[in-house]
Point group: C2
């Protein structure tokens, strides 16, 4: 594993990041471009090609044996296509085929960004050593991924772990996905802020109405702000408990901007979990904050290709 080196791409609505990652998960070279999200598909691909071109300028590039891509979803790993919600120019865009030709035929593996984050947390973060784990990102949206029986479970299309769009409130508010009462509709940052404002919370002099501002108010004891986080925690707990009841997991790791609220989120979350995770085989479930930083997507995309190797156990995904 010491000599293994792979290329990784992390494609989001804001930026396209690339890196060369070694077998220890260390980033040896990196490149980045803003995502030209509003533009046509070929322009977006152009930004990807620039990132790869910059990486190819590294003397390490010729050691790279594969390329892992974690992309904003939905993705279709079986078809090699992506349709990121925030990149309208890409709909069923044949990213794997187009990128493979740009990297001289290197093997390319595509997974969703929630799955990539999960691979990173399992390899080197809070889910390390757990054979059954759910890793989540609670931010503008709510995403996630699963480790089952010691291995990443991307599912046939690379989208497994989409906890944000499980309904936990079947008569609840409509979600932009078309369903009702999804975890994301109750627990994402914008929905935490919306609910606080609807219930009478008002921002400070800086007019900051973000979930982070609501978290600050909650920490200062504002009851409406606290209640909005408690409701988000309840929805996350119901979704996490449902996941454990369905596939048996030992830990739920939570990252993303909303998780930065710390105890404002985690204290009511742990309390709510005891109310929903009731069966004998889920009662031991623990919750932990994510440990990987902003490079989680890159490290995870690298882990997903390294895990395909004969000596994959070293990567642990």
């Amino acid at each position: 594993m010491h000599t293994d080196l792979v290329a990784a791409l992390d494609i989001g609505g804001t930026k396209i990041a690339g890196a060369l990652v070694d077998g220890h998960g260390r980033i040896q070279a990196r490149a980045q471009r803003p995502t030209p999200g509003g533009q046509d598909g070929e322009t977006v691909l152009g930004a990807v090609t620039e990132v790869l071109g910059e990486l190819a300028g590294s003397p390490l590039w010729r050691s790279a044996s594969a390329l892992g891509i974690g992309s904003a979803g939905p993705v279709d790993a079986s078809a090699g296509t992506v349709s990121p919600v925030n990149v309208p120019g890409w709909r069923d865009f044949p990213l794997v085929e187009r990128v493979r030709s740009a990297v001289g035929g290197l093997p390319v593996k595509l997974i969703g960004d929630g799955v990539a984050i999960t691979a990173a947390e399992h390899w080197q973060g809070a889910a390390r050593g757990y054979d059954n784990a759910l890793c989540m990102v609670v931010s503008t949206g709510v995403g996630g991924g699963l480790v089952l029986d010691g291995r990443l479970h991307p599912g046939p299309t690379g989208n497994a772990g989409h906890i944000g769009h499980m309904s936990v409130d079947l008569d609840g508010d409509p979600c932009p996905c078309g369903a009702r009462g999804c975890v994301e509709r109750l627990a994402s940052g914008p929905n935490i802020a919306r609910r606080a404002l609807e219930n009478g919370w008002r921002p400070g002099a800086d007019s900051d109405t973000s979930a982070a501002a609501v978290a600050g108010a909650a920490r200062a004891g504002d009851p409406v702000a606290m209640a909005s986080f408690e409701r988000a925690a309840q929805a996350l707990a119901a979704g996490i408990a449902a996941t454990a009841t369905l596939v048996e997991i030992d830990i739920a790791v939570i990252g993303g901007g909303v998780a930065k609220a710390g105890d404002v989120l985690f204290t009511p979350l742990r309390k709510a979990l005891t109310a929903y995770a009731t069966l004998s085989f889920v009662r031991h479930l623990t919750v932990a904050p994510a440990q990987m930083g902003t490079d989680a997507g890159l490290v995870g995309a690298a882990a997903a290709v390294l895990a395909g190797r004969p000596d994959a156990r070293a990567v642990g995904v």
Copy 2:
């Protein structure tokens, strides 16, 4: 596989069934006792021993190479213990150890009854040929099991697939499990009947207030009876869609007494599924009635041990 023969036990709250099952899933010998559910643990074990003793009287017994047990849950496959809700004399009862000594040291494998049904439907029933499936039993309770990546997914303790206790209504009615708004609380037979009665449905001259009677009334056009099945269908749809969103499944197979309602259940279920299964990778999901009959638990317990063999692909689980 032709010459393979295994023993199987299906332990429920009403009966303890045993069989010798060949590599084609055919039952070659069988035995059965009522479950002495209200009695002490040793008495219940005595009934199991009688079933095994009767099977051991078969000339085929000496060909049996292993014993598979599907038991009412919760079970703990890792510890080899069972705690069936309807058998209070068994709490963390060391069934695997006790039975192993009764069968002369044959290898013994324990799984939950929902997992056993799933193994049977995947081997020879409605989930055959599907690499990712959820199989459910909707009856007095709601149970289930999962096939992921072409293989049975019992989970570390043998309880995975417990869809009946996923909450789909986080503010909903308390469930006996301790949580709220579980699928079972909305969709089980007794709850379908309870809801119909609460909303004004009245049984016919036979005073039958079972879910089957409600199904008959619904078929005859009774709006309250129809509404109770529609609500159950909505809860099942939310749970099935959540499962697909979380782990990616292609088919949900539904058996048990409530599924015998046929179109009264399946028509609103398929409709509700389009409302909850909205993301691109779950929209193709299909729903089908179970195909295996009352022997599903025995055939599935046999499948679970046959699947552990080197030529397991023949069993497909």
